[in-house]
Symmetry: C2
Subunit: 252 residues, 2 copies
DNA sequence: AGTGTTTATCGTCAGGCAGACGACTATGAT
DNA sequence: ATCATAGTCGTCTGCCTGACGATAAACACT
């Protein structure tokens, strides 16, 4: 029996991106300003429609490249080549989440080092890195005291879910290295954890933990003083993806 | 500007369910036989189209009730009332995953105690609990030696992802109690872990661990001998949802 | 009634790991 | 020279886990 198109309602399917990075000791997310209704002028997560012949991961990688110029990793490959980590986050399909029509959005989570400057269709004023704390302070006030409108659609929920995923996943995986440049120091990696978790970690215990976990870090032989103080060893991310035992987030 | 329907391709959106339970010391999943092409006669995961006015979680709960009669929990509520745990798993949208048309499937994971007998539209022969090992043995042979066809569509991948989610999530959450009846013994809970992980656990260390984790188990005061041997205390699931420190899956 | 089997439960001990923190090292700034 | 800043190595203590001995309370036999 051929399929009956009237047997199911048509949906629009989009991908939305939670793109996280660490800037100035704060966890930041990429936000773009909406140029058209609904929510015109409000900040939102980058995203767009999935094309007819495109896989979901392809669509997310395409949107990521369009917004940031970042190439997504092959998720199965170790974090070695330059580019962002990209993984599926969750799917949001409330019938009323878009007032225009029935839209199901497959949210993805991307983690990137600090390097890139935002660009949204070449217009920098319509894209920015904002501290997640600020973006999630719904109806509150930003760091410069001006009122901040909440994100468009259900994007505050999506962002919150993405942040929580990142916070929990760096506990038991080597994902935190996705926030670092290809070569980095133990101190830089520690500052990533501190920014994502918003806690202070003991530098000595952290150093013991990460250098003692087999396969997590590989020394490159070089050193750097870019942080000031005594020169620090440079490392690359090792092949290990799962940390066992995990890096424990401090209690409260 | 009104929206332009030609600006995006239409999709069908479905929910597919990975319903897991523990039967006779084995982790089993609910499979239904397909009554129509494509993959007619093959086993598949239960699922169906999301309706026009329905949230994704609602659609998953409806399908679960239709297939098993189980009521889904409110995900936020503690695991106390009877019914199945239900959570979103992942979304599968390969353009070729359904030969008929472009279908995006939002897979959900449900965990249920052993009680229910399968029913699919009243026809029991078209639904069964099968050990996941058997369902995932693509092109292999079942326990009775007859050849087993792989699951329809990409359902083997979805099932594998759901099983992996369950296996990892019982490590750090109280989710394993969702496989148990409302009142259960430490031994029954241990057999759940053993079935899901397919390992043998030390009864003494397991008992120490689960009874020593605050909020995990609440004694009801009753005892039972339904397993034979010395009577065991009965417990209910406590309010804790996250186990800290986690229950560690044995190496290798 | 006694014996064996089964399951539950409590205890003990050694090793590993994490948190707290002291000490030393190697840079640049004043 | 002195100080400030980071990085790195050690030590100690407490907690948790894995391994495993021992006891308890039921049932099935004989």
């Amino acid at each position: 029996m051929p399929y009956d198109p009237s047997a199911f309602p048509p949906f629009a399917v989009t991908v939305d991106l939670v793109v996280l990075t660490v800037r100035r000791h704060a966890l930041c997310a990429l936000a773009v300003r909406r140029g058209e209704p609904p929510f015109q002028g409000r900040w939102a997560l980058p995203g767009g429609f999935v094309r007819a012949d495109e896989d979901l991961a392809q669509a997310a990688a395409r949107e990521l490249a369009e917004e940031t110029g970042l190439q997504a990793h092959d998720p199965a490959a170790p974090v070695q080549d330059h580019g962002a980590h990209l993984e599926q986050l969750a799917t949001y399909g409330d019938p009323k989440r878009d007032p225009r029509m029935r839209v199901v959005s497959v949210a993805h989570l991307a983690l990137a080092p600090d390097l890139p400057a935002p660009r949204a269709g070449g217009d920098a004023s319509n894209a920015r890195w904002a501290p997640v704390e600020e973006l999630l302070a719904q109806g509150g006030y930003g760091r410069d005291g001006e009122p901040v409108a909440p994100l468009a659609f259900d994007h505050a929920q999506i962002l919150a879910d993405g942040v929580e995923r990142a916070r929990s996943k760096i506990e038991y995986s080597s994902l935190a290295t996705a926030f670092c440049p290809p070569e980095f120091t133990v101190g830089e990696l520690r500052r990533v954890y501190e920014a994502v978790w918003n806690v202070a970690l003991d530098p000595r215990n952290f150093h013991r933990k990460v250098t003692g976990t087999p396969g997590f870090l590989v020394p490159t032989g070089g050193t750097t003083t870019r942080q000031g103080g005594r020169p620090a060893q440079l490392f690359r991310a090792g092949g290990a993806t799962l940390l066992n035992p995990p890096m424990l987030r401090p209690e409260v």
